[in-house]
């Protein structure tokens, strides 16, 4: 009679399970890191996309020849700031770039805690010696929220308001 010795050595079920779980976790991590870089960050306001919030913005704007811009918020959406644009010969020039410089939008007016409904506030923006009657476009900036932090969002110019310079 033949006696065949069968080796029963191998990975224990515990180690095999741990290995499989580790493999699954590593794969999930790799996919998560990749997906985060591919999928665009979603900015929200009041639980909806910030573009929708721009639609609800309502405000009055008045420009003084000194470069002061007076804003009165009429809507329910707090304004985080404004961007001033000027219409020229077949062009629109951004006077407030909206880029961040030391945490503040460079050249753009910023209201510290947002401008709530019914509140009025003034900001000084370099308008370059505007003359009375000259027209500027005031574009609202809202403070949106991502999963991790708050982020300013400049609404489309379609939601802006044309304001004339007064004496």
């Amino acid at each position: 009679m033949f006696k065949i010795g069968v080796s029963k050595k191998g990975l224990s079920p515990v180690i095999a399970t741990v290995l499989l779980i580790s493999l699954a976790l590593v794969l999930a991590l790799i996919i998560f890191i990749w997906a985060r870089s591919v999928i665009k960050e979603k900015v929200e306001k009041f639980g909806e996309t910030i573009e929708s919030a721009c639609d609800d913005v309502s405000f009055n704007a008045e420009l003084e020849s000194s470069g002061r811009v007076n804003i009165n918020n009429l809507g329910n959406v707090p304004l985080y700031g404004i961007e001033v644009r000027k219409r020229g010969l077949g062009l629109v020039k951004n006077l407030g770039a909206g880029y961040f410089d030391n945490g503040l939008p460079k050249g753009a007016g910023k209201f510290d805690n947002g401008l709530p409904k019914g509140a009025g506030k003034s900001v000084d923006i370099e308008l370059g010696n505007p003359s009375v009657g000259e027209e500027f476009i005031i574009v609202p900036i809202l403070l949106g929220e991502t999963d991790l932090y708050k982020k300013p969002y400049t609404c489309s110019e379609d939601f802006g308001k044309i304001a004339e310079v007064v004496a």
Binding site: F2, G10, L89, L91, V92, A97
Partner: protein, 175 residues
């Protein structure tokens, strides 16, 4: 009969399996990574699918005629939501009944037939950038040909021309 049970130890076998796996992954990755990169490259233009739009708020996108020569006044608006990525240049295609003329506009370029409509911007051409200093700009293109349609295409840094952003029919200016 007693079979010899000698062979590779389990530790060495495990090591061999791990090495084999790593080598296999490396070989597979050398094929798949360039393939995936190439595939993702084709999505570069996705952000700019409607980045440039012809804007009619100034009443341009028309031509003035002076004898044979025509001046095409074209207004373009950068309407992208992303301010992080921007196209390197843009390509305008002027269509006439018998063919197409392609005009590529890049920041800083000077072209003999194409100037900025606002002379205060200087002789160099500028492209509109969403969130930039000039989100909307107008151009004056001079030609003897009569074009009836213009299309705009974003161009990326690697000179890849994306799909058409917008098109507009060109008519004679009313003034």
């Amino acid at each position: 009969m007693i079979l010899k049970k000698r062979g590779v130890s389990s530790v060495v076998a495990t090591m061999l399996l791990i090495v084999l796996t790593i080598v296999s992954i490396a070989i597979l990755a050398s094929f798949t990574v360039p393939f995936v990169k190439k595939s993702l490259k084709s999505t570069d233009c996705f952000e700019f699918r409607s980045y440039f739009k012809f804007d009619n708020s100034f009443g341009y996108n028309c031509y003035n005629e002076n004898n044979i020569q025509k001046s095409y006044l074209i207004t373009l608006k950068a309407d992208g939501s992303s301010t992080e990525q921007k196209p390197e240049s843009l390509s305008l295609r002027f269509f006439k009944n018998t063919g197409v003329t392609v005009v590529n506009i890049k920041n800083g370029d000077t072209l003999p037939d194409m100037i900025m409509l606002d002379p205060s911007l200087g002789p160099s051409l500028i492209i509109p950038i969403a969130g930039g200093t000039y989100p909307l700009l107008s151009y004056n293109y001079t030609s003897n040909d009569l074009y009836n349609k213009v299309e705009v295409y974003p161009v990326l840094a690697d000179n890849k021309v994306c799909d058409k952003s917008d098109s507009i029919k060109i008519i004679k200016c009313s003034n």
